[in-house]
Symmetry: C2
Subunit: 305 residues, 2 copies
């Protein structure tokens, strides 16, 4: 029996409640083999489209107050966590297996001095015209940038996870063989200021958060499930090559050669490398639809020390 | 050392994120004495204004999908749970006490055959004109009713809680002396249909949910903290009398005499009576600002077998 942390992309969760429920049935089936084998499991999920939707609803609705981004993230943890635990409970009910599963609303500590706060890069929410963007900037102090000709968007910081505030709760549940959903959307970002935990407008990369959780819970393996079967070098060129089994040293070279796309494969690889470096244990990047094979290490890219 | 379930009203949580944070500092101070004495604590909170706000944001925003009420409730659990755990963590940091606290996203089982589903009475969300109400009714099958001359509102069912799906997780955390926030807003209502747990458009009364949780976790006492210091008979009349210590039998008489207001004090009393009847242990209805006194049984109305 092993302990696994599984990271799921927010893009795999659809654009509304009905879609999300349907897609999560599929995810539950993909993860089920690990549940049946009685492994310890922590699920971390993305929330990009979902937190964007929640933020947009509050921005557009004339009668509701403005909702800070940390609070929108907390809402997305409830929304997505409920659907994940429900989907997994239902497949267990169908297969007559009984294991408790719960979502832990999770704050993740970041460093107020993280350079990411000086150089905000993560676009969130809707697109605005220049005048609207200037107004938002003036009114709320938002940093607004032009986004690839599609208009102006708010950008916020994407700092690195330092610690997981609710780690003891996650560990207690794991100890009792419960399945845990935690750090949804990378966690609610909080900084420590004047001895208090204070929520901040930021987004923590969910793969980095899952690597941090994997390290904290002593996971035997970190699985990042995404849309592609492998990590590729020379991606989308005639020389494209799938990586199946690779060491940190080899990856360092590919990183220097800039093979991996920022905001897409790069953070996944960096998160895996952080976990492998910190623990000496393997991390796998694989396709959600090949999860079963990935769990057997017959699909995906396995990153080893 | 005892085990307590504390039920907090959603009305005590304000109308936006800033207000909620400020008010929860106060709540954290009120509950702190029990934390310091190392008692087991489960906190259940209401979500009336908050889930209404979330629902309204999605209803009014032209670009976001319609959000079912169960999912809005799940969002409110993340939103409020995050603020409660953060406020209590911060008072513990200040006082140099270390106890883990976490919010468990909680589904509460209700019975599909609960008569409440045939007689929907709980008004939620915004007020509409007659024509808008008719359109919503036609389009989404909502039951819309005229609300005290203020316009039309959607009403949904308020079924009784039957079981708490995530009870094992709550019990695991309690066993490890962790503070648990659970069943926010009365829990996300689910029914069992074709062997699956299915979310439904309904609202479970949070006091009834807290009584059910108190029963399940074997609480020594149930505290319902509200805006008034006592339960009163002949409330708001010259004969008004505060109840300090009362038995189930005495309360039965007052219930028959219709002393308590529906949708306000009545559900609190019924919830307490359910707990006292099921366990033989006391329940207290008291003012949030007199929580410390209530914990010592020197304020509030104590209901005993």
């Amino acid at each position: 029996m092993s302990r696994y942390v599984i990271s799921l992309g927010g893009n795999a969760l659809g654009n509304n409640a009905e879609e999300q429920k349907k897609l999560l049935k599929y995810v539950a089936h993909a993860i089920y083999p690990l549940i049946e084998m009685n492994h310890d499991i922590v699920i971390v999920h993305g929330n990009g489209p979902q937190v964007g939707m929640i933020n947009l609803a509050f921005n557009e609705s004339p009668s509701t107050p403005l909702m800070p981004f940390a609070e929108c993230g907390a809402m997305s943890q409830g929304y997505i966590g409920y659907h994940i635990q429900n989907a997994i409970q239902n497949i267990m009910l169908e297969r007559h297996i009984k294991r408790p599963i719960a979502t832990v609303v999770t704050q993740v500590l970041v460093d107020e001095k993280d350079p990411a706060f000086l150089h905000q890069t993560k676009p969130i929410g809707s697109f605005y015209k220049k005048e609207e963007a200037d107004e938002l900037s003036l009114k709320h102090g938002y940093t607004m940038v032009e986004d690839a000709g599609r208009g102006y968007r708010r950008v916020i910081a994407s700092p690195k996870p330092v610690d997981v505030i609710e780690k003891e709760s996650i560990l207690s549940l794991l100890k009792d063989k419960q399945i845990v959903i935690a750090a949804g959307g990378g966690g609610i970002p909080v900084i420590q200021r004047n001895g208090e935990l204070v929520g901040v407008d930021a987004v923590i990369d969910k793969d980095h958060a899952s690597a941090k959780i994997a390290e904290i819970v002593g996971a035997d393996e970190l699985f990042i499930l995404t849309a592609v079967e492998h990590v590729y070098i020379d991606y989308n060129t005639p020389n494209q090559k799938a990586l199946k089994d690779i060491t940190l040293k080899e990856l360092d070279i590919y990183l220097e050669e800039s093979h991996f796309k920022k905001g897409s494969m790069l953070p996944k690889i960096e998160a895996c490398m952080n976990f492998v470096r910190a623990t000496g244990r393997p991390a796998v990047i694989a396709a959600l639809e090949k999860a079963v094979e990935a769990f057997k290490q017959t699909s995906g890219t396995i990153i080893k020390p």
